[in-house]
Subunit: 206 residues, 2 copies
C-alpha cells in the first residue's frame, strides 16, 4: 500500500481513492456462514455484496418499483465493508449480532474516513443501518433474503448441520415482512418448502 | 434447481427470478487471471463484479460526474454473467478475446432469456458491449482499470511471471483513454510506476 505514496503523477485525492479501493478489496477474504450452492466453500462478503446487488436489480421491478435503485445499489456495494474490520457475524447468533452493531458503526467511521469524499458513502451506510427510508428497507430485505435462497438451493445442508430451527427462519422472514412484504412472500415460500423437505430436523427434538 | 418447480406458493415469474439468481451465483466459480492483493488465489468474476461497481461509485464523481450511475451499476453487475457459459478470457490474450466475443453475445441471449423481464437486462449488457453511450464507456473503462490496480497493488508478481510487456499495458491504457481520459490518467500513472519498479522485465529482452 505504501507504494501509492509514490504515485506522484496524480493528485492526493486520486491516490487516496485508489488506496481505498485496494483496501476495500480485502472484503474478498471475509468468509460468511453460508456456502456456495455446490457446498464447496463458504461464500465471502465480496461475492455476497455483488449477488445482493444483482438480486436487488432483478427483484426491485416487482417487489419495490418505487425505490431509487441507484441509492439501493450504493448501499449494497458498501454495506459490508465494515466486516474488513470486525468480520461477519451470522444472523443466527442474535447476541453476537447485537454486540457487534456498535463496533460496526465505529468501523464505518474509520472505513469511510479513508476516502476524500467519504462522508457521502458514510451517509449511505448510516441510512442502510437506520432503516428509515424505503431504499434502506428494501436493501436490507434483499440482504436477508439472499442467504436464505443460497441455503435452500444448496439443499439446506448447513441449516441441518448447524441445528438451525424453523423458528429462527420464521423470525427472519417476519423481519423481512416488516421491511418489504413482497420479498417476505418469497422467503416464506422457501422456508415452508425447506421445512417440508426436512431441513430443520432439530424441530422434532424440542 | 429442480426444487424451484415445487415452490407453489409464489407465481411462475417469481420462481424464474429465484432460479436465475441461483444460476447467476455460479459466477463465484469463474476464476480470473488476476489474483487477490495478497497473491493467495485468483480473483473470481463475482468478486470482480462487486469491486468494479465500487470503483465506479468511488471514481464517477471526479472522472465521469454526468453519467447515470444506476445504469453503470446495472451494467457492471451483469457484464460478466456470460462467463458462466464461456469462462473468463484474459485481456492479454488478444486472439482469444476476439474469438470469444461472438460466443459471449450468444451466451448473453441465453443467459437473459432465463429471466421473465430479461430483455431489459439484455439491453443493458448489449449497451455495455457496444460502447455507444457514456455509461457504457465509463463502465468499460472501470472494468479495464480495476485489474491493473490489483496487479499493481499486488506487486506486479503476475505481470512478471507471465512475461507481460509494458506495451500491452500501454495499449490497455490507450483504450481506457478513448473511453474516459480521467481514468486513463490513473492507469498511466500506475503503469509508469510499475515500469519504474521493474514489473516488465521482458521489455529488456526484446
Amino acid at each position: 500500500m505504501e507504494r501509492l505514496d509514490g504515485l506522484g503523477a496524480v493528485g492526493q485525492h486520486a491516490r487516496e481513492r485508489l488506496r481505498f479501493l485496494a483496501y476495500a478489496h480485502e472484503l474478498t477474504s471475509v468468509g460468511r456462514f453460508v456456502r456456495l450452492v455446490d457446498g464447496s466453500r463458504p461464500e465471502n462478503s465480496a461475492e455476497h455484496s455483488w449477488h445482493v446487488g444483482l438480486c436487488a436489480i432483478v427483484l426491485a421491478p416487482s417487489a419495490a418499483p418505487a425505490v431509487n435503485l441507484e441509492r439501493v445499489l450504493k448501499m449494497l456495494a458498501v454495506h459490508d465493508l465494515v466486516e474488513i474490520e470486525v468480520g461477519d457475524v451470522p444472523i443466527y447468533d442474535k447476541s453476537a449480532r447485537a454486540a457487534v452493531a456498535e463496533l460496526e458503526r465505529a468501523a464505518a467511521t474509520e472505513v469511510f474516513n479513508r476516502l476524500p469524499e467519504g462522508r457521502q458513502l458514510h451517509e449511505v451506510w448510516i441510512e442502510f443501518d437506520a432503516l428509515d427510508t424505503q431504499e434502506a428497507r428494501f436493501a436490507r430485505a434483499v440482504d436477508r433474503l439472499q442467504p436464505i435462497l443460497l441455503h435452500w438451493i444448496g439443499g439446506g445442508r448447513l441449516w441441518r448441520s448447524a441445528g438451525i430451527r424453523r423458528q429462527q427462519l420464521d423470525e427472519i422472514s417476519q423481519f423481512i415482512h416488516e421491511l418489504c412484504p413482497e420479498l417476505a412472500a418469497l422467503a416464506q415460500a422457501i422456508i415452508n418448502d425447506a421445512a417440508d423437505r426436512g431441513d430443520f430436523p432439530e424441530d422434532h427434538f424440542q
